[in-house]
Amino acid sequence: MTLDFSWLFDPLYQTWLLRGVGTTILLSLLGMVLMFVIGIAGAALLHLKVRFLQSPVTIFVELFRNTPPLVQLFFLYFMLSEIGLTLTDPVTGGRIPLFTGFTCVVLSLGLYNGAIAVEIIRSGLLAVPAQTVEGARSLGYSRLQTFRHVELPIGLRMSIPPMTSNIVSLIKTSSQAVLVAVADIMYGATQIMLETFRNLEVMLLIWIIYLVIASIAVLVVRRIAAAFRIPGYGS
């Protein structure tokens, strides 16, 4: 068996790959923003025991955590295109669909990994010592102020290790974008395979690219964790 990587020198394939990497990174970053918004908001509602909203959050978490992300993506994609919301392009005057494949992938990543993030952040909040909270309460901090100034800053730090896995999971799950025709790195790879039939070589490259992206993400998170480390606390 010989490996043939000559296709890598084709400028067209290089463009597809680079654009694909860019799209994968953009999908992941936007998905992460949504994941954090959902994760923090959901964990706050559960932790502060907000009446009437606790059950909806719990149902949301169970629904999105316990079903395959691919099913969720297809459901979102077909449901939202069925609703058929459109925007009017200000330049051409044409109708463009509001929920493109790209939007659906970002939403799907944010919802799936966001549901997991809710539980991760909630467990971080539960790890904040009751004494620390009592200290804040004795100084006149309200429930909400205690959450904002004491529980959340400590709880988020405690949730960094499991959140790192969730971020890596989100980056990997973004490869589903290819299935709703979004030109991410998997999409580029699929196109190159169709033209060159060098399936093994292309997949080897894709494997390495995902490894590099995820490793960089882990390194960045480690830098953030180090910057926010609490001296003398925990390990």
């Binding site: 010592p129 004494q131 620390t132 009592e134 200290g135 804040a136 309460r137 004795s138 100084l139 006149g140 901090y141 309200s142 429930r143 909400l144 102020q145 100034h149 004491v150 800053p153 400590i154 730090r157 609490i230 001296p231 003398g232 606390y233």
Partner: protein, 254 residues
Amino acid sequence: MTHHRHSQQSAPLIEIRDVHKSFGPVTVLRGVSLSVRDGGVVCIIGPSGSGKSTILRCINGLMSIDRGTIRVGPFAVETLKSDKALVPLRHQVAMVFQQYNLFPHRTVLQNLTMAPVQVLGENPAAVRERALALLAKVRLTGKQDAYPGELSGGQQQRVAIARALAMQPKVILFDEVTAALDPEMVSEVLNVIRDLAREGMTCVLVTHEMRFAQEVADEVFFTDRGVIVEHGPPGTLFQNPTDPRLKAFLEKVL
């Protein structure tokens, strides 16, 4: 003489009457009454589980009561329900805990300045200046940028006392503040409390340090099974106890 001797005749600053408190099926307080005058130093002693710490937590509204009244200065504590209503009370009643309860993610200086700025809305520059003076008072000058986790237990407890003082309270509640400390660190914390008591700060201490209670308190309350069994000036209470439960307790701890 010290300030608190002068104000001996004034109306009590804290007045607790017939307070009952249960946690589910467990009754912790069964009709506790006690009063503390402005500038007074009161110690509450008694066996574990007798309700000492619960009394303190009821005074600053950390725990609600089932029956009875608690008055602290102008506040009827049992009527204060919302967080907002409790702020003025907690401004006047500060608390120091057995486990220090500091904010681990903030520096020593920030631990002192956070609540006055974020809760009381005071000017940050003025609070900072006051905080630095308080750190000097508890002999921790130079530690302002350290984090609580980098300090010894005795140092952390002195930060906690300074944090309480930064609120400029009328009363400080001390909940077994030396119980978690190594023996050699106990005296450095007690020295700070002794200074405060001498300066006329109203102090309510739950403590197992009987010799310290004897030295600083004007009045000592002995609790057992949710009631105050006996109280009086430390000389009388420690030297001539009348209740058999107090006698038995003192035999064990002295």
